[in-house]
């Protein structure tokens, strides 16, 4: 099976080279048969990569410890559930997993569009095959996951050896979320390849208009949605597993995932300017290019050892490949742009400074400033060392000081932007849309201040969250009122109907709602508290309104670990609340590594977060660390809402579906369904 996997990847690489060559030659000669052959080669390479990945999964599940990668990241006692996540737990496997996910995207793009967009698809096929080809070079020749464990025998002939057991999976990765966090994040990273391919194809093919945007809107939303959920799942994993009481540490790997998400968000907003007004064509093309390049840059930063990270793989020469590919992509983008920029001339015309268009410009500015701040902070240690020769650190204090004000301004624009009309917004409209939210949010701020809520940023965040929340709710209420007046449906049905008529617009509002909840959760960090203490059975400690009484410590045997578990009785205001069981696990096959299972009592008000940190090496006393983290649950709840909003915005509009269904019915058949009445009270449709 190891040979099968290697062979499948090699064959896939050959297919990629053929798809590129045949595609270029087909475009130059106009040979349709060759173009079709190139497309089929692209589809074949996807299937081959999938087969290669499946073979590695098979090797994990059959405990084939002749394979270096399997021996390094798995063991016989590793639960079956974790043998799949073991696939992406190391460098070689994660690169193959990247190729696999890109293959999924490429396969569906090539198959779905096989009879569409004849001007664009040959270019798209070449670009996707080139990106695939790069990763296949890594999979086949630089970091192959199918390398065998071997030794040189007495006769000088290499011999394959099979180990009795493997090293096992890193304990930190033996957590259910690790089965879904990396796939989500990678689906985000790889997904941005699709809009990149279409944007570059439109530029290379000198294809005018907004077609590439229409084609890729849903693909971009899918990639963005996966990236968002992936980032939040990663944050939740860090919160629940690493046991330091937080969820975001501004580590370079975390920053690497955040940067393309930010530029992708900017693109999703500014693309509406191009669709509605034919504006910012150059800007949008470059936003997509930059988003894709940031995906590659992040991988380069964390795999090259240029910046040190808790999560990074060991420093290796693979970073040079990524830097080379990055330079190649940048060169292609610059050349393509300068050769064909005449085709990107926009109708840049604003009717008023106070309009949706100008809010989008500021939105893009703030998002890019946030992205730059993150990139700058991540790279600054390297820059400083290069210029001064001294090593310095750039950690959470820097990122928080720089990004919190930027983030709050962005939150403000989240409330303002959607309520401004395209082209021009009148003073009366501003007063009508913003009057009540502004007054109520200021009152909320004053009440919070009066109640002792004195942290400046947290107070500003609260005011802005109330403001944005009210503007969003106001939009839904206004639209639902119109439908209710015409149809007499109940409020819930009206809101559902409203959302389904313009899924993109109202899906966007739901995403904004999710972001508001996330900001509420982030603001809670200003009031975190913690206490750490040695605790024997019978001891107690108090944090906030909670009293933690230690009942006992026990050891128990897990499938591949031994755990020491504390039993903590939690009372609140002298009333029994619940039992918490934080534990520390000791893994026998992983170089005696340990992992912690945090016990969390989570409510929308606060999280009681309890870590059994281990035993004091001097006294042998068990040490428990308790945190009281307010509002954290709102972050995960906001992520859920954000995911729902993303799905909603991808769905087709109900009205369009009815019209299409009506059009598809033969003449003289049953009465066609009546299209729902249009809602016309609010500004231009998104």
């Amino acid at each position: 099976m190891d040979l099968f996997g290697s062979f499948a990847l090699l064959l896939a690489f050959v297919c990629a080279v053929y798809a590129i060559g045949a595609g270029i030659f087909g475009i130059r000669t106009g040979n349709q048969a060759l173009l079709k052959s190139a497309r089929n080669a692209g589809i074949a390479l996807c299937v081959l990569v999938m087969l290669g990945t499946a073979s590695l999964v098979y090797l994990f599940y059959t405990d084939n410890f002749a394979m270096a990668y399997v021996a390094e990241h798995s063991s016989r006692d590793l639960p079956a559930f974790y043998k799949l996540p073991a696939l992406w737990s190391g460098q070689q496997g994660s690169l193959l997993f990247w190729s696999f996910l890109l293959s999924l995207y490429t396969f569906f793009v090539l198959v779905i569009n096989r009879r569409k967009h004849p001007e664009l698809m040959p270019y798209v096929g070449i670009i996707l095959a080139t990106v695939q080809g790069f990763f296949l070079i890594l999979n086949c020749f630089v970091a192959s996951p199918f390398a065998l464990l071997g030794t040189v025998g007495a006769s000088g002939i290499p011999q394959v050896i099979t180990r009795a057991d493997g090293n096992g999976l890193n304990p930190l990765l033996q957590y259910p979320e690790m089965a879904i966090h990396p796939p989500n994040l990678y689906l985000g990273y790889t997904g941005f390849t699709i809009p990149f391919a279409f944007a570059l194809a439109a530029l290379l093919g000198r294809y005018p208009g907004e077609k590439w945007i229409h084609v890729t809107r849903r693909w971009t939303m899918i990639a963005w949605g996966f990236q968002s959920i992936g980032i939040l799942l990663g944050a939740h994993w860090a919160y629940a597993v690493l046991g330091w009481g937080g969820y975001w540490a501004w580590d370079p790997v975390e920053n690497a995932s955040l940067m393309p998400w930010i530029t992708g968000t900017a693109f999703l907003h500014s693309v509406m300017m191009q669709e509605k007004r034919g504006m910012m064509r150059v800007w949008n093309i470059w936003l997509v290019f930059v988003t894709f390049m940031l995906c590659i840059l992040g991988t380069f930063l964390t795999r090259s050892g240029v910046v040190s990270s808790v999560h990074a793989f060991a420093q290796s020469s693979i970073g040079q490949w990524f830097s080379g590919f990055l330079v190649f992509v940048l060169a292609v983008c610059i050349i393509a742009y300068f050769k064909n920029r005449d085709y990107l001339k926009s109708d840049n015309q604003l009717d008023s400074m106070v309009s949706r268009e100008s809010s989008f410009l500021f939105n893009n500015l703030i998002l890019l400033a946030a992205c730059f701040a993150v990139l700058w902070g991540t790279l600054f240690p390297v820059i400083s060392e290069a210029f001064t020769g001294n090593k310095i650190s750039v950690g959470p204090p820097f990122f928080n000081k720089v990004n919190i004000p930027i983030g709050l301004f962005l939150l403000f624009l989240t409330g303002v932007g959607p309520l401004l009309a395209w082209r021009r917004t009148s003073l009366e409209s501003l007063r009508r849309n913003f009057g009540i939210p502004v007054v109520i949010s200021l009152i909320a701020g004053a009440v919070a201040f009066g109640l002792g809520f004195r942290h400046f940023y947290a107070l500003v965040c609260l005011i802005l969250c109330v403001f944005v929340l009210l503007t969003i709710v106001g939009e839904f209420v206004r639209g639902a009122m119109v439908i209710r007046a015409r149809t007499g449906m109940n409020w819930l049905s009206c809101v559902t109907e409203l959302s389904m008529r313009n899924t993109r617009r109202y899906g966007g509002y739901v995403v904004h709602l999710g972001m508001v909840f996330i900001f509420i959760g982030l603001a809670g960090a200003a009031f975190n508290r913690d206490i750490q203490s040695a605790m024997h059975p019978g001891d107690a400690m108090v944090i906030g309104p909670y009293r933690l009484f230690c009942q006992e410590f026990e050891t128990r045997q897990g499938p591949n670990y031994q755990a020491e578990r504390a039993t903590i009785e939690v009372t609140r205001d002298s009333k029994p609340l619940m039992m918490l069981y934080p534990e520390r696990r000791f893994f026998a096959t992983s170089n005696a590594e340990t992992g912690s299972m945090v016990a969390i009592y989570s409510t929308f008000r606060e999280d009681l977060y309890l870590v059994y940190a281990g035993r004091d090496p001097e006294s042998g006393a068990p040490i428990l660390h308790a945190y009281l983290n307010p509002l954290v649950k709102w972050i995960w709840f906001g992520g859920l809402i954000l995911g729902i909003g993303t799905v909603l915005s991808i769905l087709p509009n109900r009205r369009l579906a009815i019209v299409l269904a009506a059009a598809a019915q033969p003449a003289g058949s049953a009465v066609a369904p009546q299209p729902a009445p249009a809602v016309s009270t609010y500004g231009a449709q998104d």
């Binding site: 005018p208 208009g209 077609k211 229409h214 809107r217 046991g243 330091w244 009481g245 540490a249 580590d251 040190s308 990270s309 808790v310 005449d342 990107l344 001339k345 109708d347 840049n348 015309q349 604003l350 009717d351 400074m353 100008s358 410009l361 500021f362 500015l365 703030i366 890019l368 400033a369 730059f372 701040a373 700058w376 902070g377 600054f380 001064t388 090593k391 310095i392 650190s393 750039v394 950690g395 204090p397 820097f398 930027i406 002792g452 508290r529 913690d530 206490i531 203490s533 605790m535 024997h536 019978g538 001891d539 107690a540 400690m541 009484f549 870590v611 940190a613 035993r615 004091d616 090496p617």
Partner: protein, 199 residues
């Protein structure tokens, strides 16, 4: 604001009985264990004055105690643990991490000695190097770290303002038309139709 507890100096309460029995013991101590001094029983106002005095002393002392704990935590959040874990000093959760334990002891001592935050950081830099500080020092070349994000934002604002001014037509001017290469009307019509189908 409720007083915060230093992460490593939190002291466990002594072993005690759990639940109702413990609370009953506390109640008994309150009702029978306290004796009112004779001076207070003679002059009730003396009790009020003494109460107010001790309240005032407590009010003066409590913030000072809380501030010290807060300071240790605040300064500790500005430093990394130097064991290589890349965690903020007061967030390092490695039990037995000799580095964070000794660093926190040093931090507590420095805070107790009444040094300013900058002096405390300076003493850590002398011992562990500049990498111990979790944010770039705002001096020399490292000023750039702080200036650049906001300079970029400011430049961006100017750029957006310029762009908006240029794109907003002045009164009496006619809107500019896109000046890209000419595209045949039938091609444009087909593209529009295809785009609508895609949407």
């Amino acid at each position: 604001m409720a007083p915060r507890i230093s992460p490593r100096s939190g002291v466990a309460q002594p072993p005690e009985a759990s639940g109702l029995a413990a609370r009953m013991q506390e109640g008994a101590a309150l009702s029978h264990g306290l004796r009112i001094p004779r001076a207070f029983s003679k002059d009730p106002r003396a009790f009020t004055r003494a109460f107010l005095f001790f309240s005032l002393v407590l009010l003066l002392l409590l913030p000072a105690t809380a501030q010290q704990s807060d300071r240790a935590k605040t300064v500790g959040h500005r430093m990394f643990c130097m064991c290589g874990c890349k965690q903020i000093l007061v967030e390092c959760n490695h039990v037995g991490c000799t580095m964070s334990t000794s660093m926190l002891k040093k931090l507590d001592a420095e805070v107790a000695s009444g040094k300013s935050d900058d002096l405390i950081l300076q003493s850590f830099v002398q011992q562990f190097g500049a990498e111990v500080v979790a944010e770039p020092p705002a001096k020399g070349f490292n000023w750039l770290a702080w200036i650049m994000p906001f300079a970029a934002l400011g430049a961006g604002f100017l750029l957006v303002r310029t762009v908006l001014t240029r794109w907003t037509p002045q009164s009496g001017t006619t809107p500019a038309m896109p000046s890209g290469p000419g595209v045949a009307p039938d091609v444009l019509a087909r593209i529009r139709q295809e785009s609508e189908e895609d949407e």
